[in-house]
């Protein structure tokens, strides 16, 4: 008998993990390019759009429970120090204040290596105490009644300073999570550089970027009979449940996490946060429901960020452009914690090159911890690599697109694996055609003495294969309506709609009769965090299997009623037909005759193919106009061509592309956390001072898919697509600005000040 439990490799945000997988009950034939599909691939309207346009959608801060209390956090105003005195008694005496929390009365909870309410301050705005009151206003006012003394200690908030021999120690173990750089390589880079006809070396810098989800981190917690229920704005209900169970020493079955709607995540909401723990701790202590929502300053300073990097890049090439060596030395600012999402990886993947070496030094410093942020590592790395490729193209006098084509990678070279599918060449071809690349490259740069125009492009890749475990249930009610149940999350990506389309496709149901139910650990089968662009490719196949099981039962019931065999039946648009006769019934009629017999299908996600790399690809093109007097850069248009396998819903997928491109535009032009180095505090923790793009900044965007089902990846043929569009946008824009001005862009964001100083340096 074949084994039911096997292992498989799953890639999540650049990290490959081995997972145990229970083989699904069936393994359907993949939907290939010729598959006759009627709902999958259609522009079905977003299923929760009505709730969102009417204000009916309830987000975490909208949850109101009887007797609910509210929390304000006391945050440290210094980057490093020790709380030598903390007196909360006066605050506690104020009318309406119901409780306080500090280190002594909080379970031992660590986030990013820092204990909650630690009396040792490790970064500015670290929470040191919390106040719970009848209203948020009362809690916030009571903060002023807290007496606190913090003895400041020397801090360090830049990577360069943190790596200096005399730097203050950020952690007792030192200022890096590793004793040596993380070095990954193939071939012999020194030999490759000796073989090169041309070598370029450049240094690139990327900023600390802030997620700036409009809905901040937050939770509402309630204890009842030893059961903890938490409403949370999270990308992972099961991770949040795991974190809470551990913190409060509860069995998993005693914790319920609910997330129906959330106002953006972008990677920063992958488990329990300060707000979650504090709400749960207060609710336990006070015996009342508690709401804890970060304020905007807390969200901008203590809820994750994209690591700043410094990348020293050397590329060697033959005169014809053939790459002989790629080398990158990177320094990555983690802040007080986080995980090792380095820029190195994309240097290994994007181009064919026998000799590649990345060295990554991760640095702790006294700032808020990094968190995954839409394609963490690869966004930073793509900026360095793709700007360096353009510098090389200029050096070789080869068209930048042509240089990339000449170094096309046809397999995953580090691991020696084939790609499940790769259509980057088509992205290049169609992207260039729709952009008018050749003509644009020949066009005049100087529109006027003051205004200059330029074009640039960049390639991208991202591991987006998803994988197990993921489970789904499909239930058919007695009126023929269908429910898809899975513990995944919809961040606004459209997952809810995509799952319903897959179920409707398999069952031949009307899409209007299908509803997807997400986000409740107590009611739904497991699905992993919605991160790493994995949700559709992970959960979609499980939904398909569940729907197939349900369809088999439905057809068996219908066959009896229609006096034929189940094999003779097919369904479409809510109607089941016999192929051999005119006999037909509505799904609803079959179900009505079954009464309260509930047809239930269970599905799970099978293993990934062995020795295969599953990735998404893309090519992005940008045209910019630079005002040489003000230094202002305006992006005029972006063309973005993507290969993410089959597209289940083109409208929602295009929305993801546009969103990623616009975030990438912000990263290229505006977004940068600014710290006062002397004080160690963030200077722009507001939405006025931390600039995200507005509607007026948005260029003409032509974002599309080079669609081809990836039948090796999984049996839906779909791969991830939400992160790829942010990866190449910033280098495409920077390369366009470099093209306009004839000078390298070594650092983003390309603020007017930076543009003017670069232009001045040149003259």
């Amino acid at each position: 008998m074949a084994k039911r439990f096997v292992t498989t490799k799953v890639e999540i945000e650049g990290r490959e993990e081995t997972k145990v997988v229970e083989l699904p009950s069936r393994n359907p034939a993949p939907w290939d390019n010729d598959a006759d599909l009627h709902v999958v691939g259609q522009r079905v309207p977003r299923m929760d759009a009505i709730e969102k346009v009417t204000g009916d959608a309830r987000y975490t801060a909208d949850i109101r429970l009887a007797g609910m209390l509210h929390v304000a956090l006391l945050r440290a105003p210094v980057a490093r120090g020790r709380v030598t005195m903390l007196d909360l008694s006066h605050a506690l005496e104020l009318p309406g204040v119901r409780g306080v929390l500090a280190l002594d009365d909080t379970p031992d909870i660590k986030l990013d290596g820092v204990r909650l309410f630690d009396r040792a301050v490790h970064y500015a705005n670290q929470p040191v105490a919390a106040i719970c009151a009848d209203s948020l206003q009362i809690a916030e006012r009571a903060l002023h009644a807290v007496a606190i003394t913090i003895e400041p200690d020397p801090h360090v908030v830049t990577a360069e300073r943190a790596l200096a021999p005399d730097a203050p120690k950020v952690k007792s173990s030192g200022n890096s999570p590793r004793t040596s750089p993380r070095i990954i390589g193939r071939g012999d880079v020194d030999a490759g550089l000796r073989d090169a006809d041309v070598t370029i070396t450049r240094e690139y810098r990327t900023p600390t970027a802030l997620h700036t989800a409009l809905e901040p981190h937050g939770a509402v917690a309630e204890w009842s009979g030893g059961q903890l229920t938490v409403w949370e704005s999270t990308q992972g209900i099961f991770n949040t449940r795991r974190d809470l169970a551990k913190a409060f020493a509860l069995p998993l079955s005693s914790v319920r996490v609910i997330k129906n709607y959330m106002g953006g995540g972008f990677g920063a909401k992958n488990g329990a946060s300060h707000a979650t723990y504090i709400a749960a701790a207060f609710a336990k202590k006070l015996g009342r429901p508690v709401r804890c929502i970060l304020d905007r300053e807390g969200e901008q300073t203590d809820a994750g960020n994209r690591s700043a990097t410094i990348q020293r890049v050397t590329i060697g090439a033959k005169r014809d452009g053939t790459l002989t060596a790629i080398k990158v030395d990177a320094t990555i600012s983690l802040g007080i914690g986080g995980w090792l999402a380095g820029p190195g990886r994309i240097y290994h993947e994007l181009y064919r090159c026998a000799n590649v070496r990345s060295s990554e030094t991760f640095v702790y410093m006294n700032t808020g911890a990094m968190a995954s942020f839409r394609a963490p590592g690869s966004v930073e790395g793509a900026f360095g690599l793709e700007c360096a490729m353009d510098a090389l193209a200029r050096e070789l006098d080869i068209d930048p697109l042509e240089l990339r084509r000449r170094n096309y990678a046809d397999r995953d070279q580090d691991k020696g694996r084939v790609y499940s599918a790769k259509h980057l060449d088509e992205c290049y071809r169609l992207g260039a055609e729709r952009f008018g690349w050749d003509d644009a490259r020949r066009a005049r740069r100087d529109v006027s003495p003051r205004m200059r125009r330029g074009v640039g492009m960049a390639s991208l890749t991202w591991g987006a294969g998803g994988g197990p475990p993921a489970y789904a249930t499909v239930r058919i009610n007695r009126d023929g309506t269908i429910e898809v149940l899975t513990g995944a999350q919809d961040l606004g990506t459209g997952a809810r709609t995509v799952f319903a389309q897959i179920a409707a496709e398999v069952l031949g149901a009307k899409i209007a009769d299908v509803r997807t139910i997400l986000g409740d650990t107590e009611r739904l089968p497991f699905a992993s965090n919605s991160w790493g662009s994995i949700t559709t490719a992970s959960v979609g196949p499980a939904v398909r299997v569940a729907a197939e099981e349900a369809r088999d039962s439905l057809f068996e019931a219908a066959a009896g009623m229609l006096e034929t065999e189940p094999d003779d039946l097919e369904a479409r648009d809510g109607e089941i037909h016999a192929k051999s006769s005119d006999a037909c019934m509505l799904i609803r009629e079959v179900c009505e005759r079954l009464g309260d017999v509930m047809i239930i299908g269970q599905g799970s996600r099978g293993p990934n193919p062995d020795k295969t790399a599953i990735s998404a690809f893309g090519a992005q093109f940008a045209e910019v106009e630079v005002d040489t007097e003000t230094g202002r850069v305006r992006v005029l248009r972006v063309v973005s061509a993507h290969d993410s396998g089959r597209i289940i819903n083109p409208t929602l997928a295009e929305s993801q592309l546009e969103g990623g491109i616009i975030q990438g535009l912000g990263y290229a032009l505006f977004e940068e956390r600014v710290l006062d180095e002397r004080l160690g505090v963030p200077l722009n923790p507001t939405m006025h001072d931390y600039k995200i793009p507005t509607i007026a900044d948005v260029p003409v965007i032509d974002a599309f898919f080079v669609e081809s089902s990836d039948t090796v990846a999984n049996h839906t043929g779909a791969k991830g697509l939400a992160e790829p569009p942010i990866i190449g946008t910033a280098p495409a824009i920077a390369n366009a600005v470099a093209n306009a001005l004839g000078v390298d862009m070594p650092e983003i964001p390309l603020t007017p000040w930076r543009i003017l100083s670069l232009a001045t340096d040149r003259s």
Binding site: V53, A57, D62, S655, I695
Partner: protein, 154 residues
């Protein structure tokens, strides 16, 4: 004082410093209006006051006595969406949905002032409402479509 929200009267006695946003969300439990920045930087809390769009986080409730207020909850009637809401659905002008109520009210105010806006008018008129998901291209389309539908119906 009397607050007229979506046509319904409410007797409320807020403290003088209470914002309209806090009154709507916390007292009247109309949670469709969102708090994002709380200081007039993002537009998520946009509502209509006397038909004009205002940031409810910067508006004191005390200043709204007896003046008509429209929130996102007051747009659809008997299950029929307002034309702008319908256009947002049709053009997928939303992702996470958190900025959407403010965007829709800002668009309604814009169209009230300018029934046939150009694309530039929309981009200028809507630039006080931030969206982090990047639905802007679809918002432009939705607002122009709503304008066109109103013109051709009118």
């Amino acid at each position: 004082m009397r607050l007229i929200v979506n046509g319904a009267s409410h007797d409320v006695t807020p403290p003088a410093h209470e914002t309209l946003l806090a009154t709507l969300r916390e007292r009247l439990e109309l949670t469709g209006t969102k708090l994002v920045c709380g200081r007039g930087e993002c537009g998520a809390c946009t509502v209509l006051l006397d038909g004009v769009s205002v940031y409810s986080c910067l508006t004191l409730t005390a200043a709204c006595d007896d003046r008509p207020i429209t929130t996102i909850e007051g747009l659809a009637h008997d299950g029929t969406l307002h034309a702008v809401q319908a256009a947002f659905v049709e053009h997928d002008a939303l992702q996470c949905g958190f900025c959407t109520p403010g965007q829709i009210l800002a668009a309604i105010a814009l169209l009230r002032d300018n029934a046939a806006p150009t694309e530039d008018d929309v981009r200028r008129g809507m630039s006080g409402n931030l969206c982090r998901c990047g639905t802007y291209p679809k918002i432009v389309r939705a607002v122009l479509a709503a304008a066109e539908a109103a013109t051709s119906n009118g």
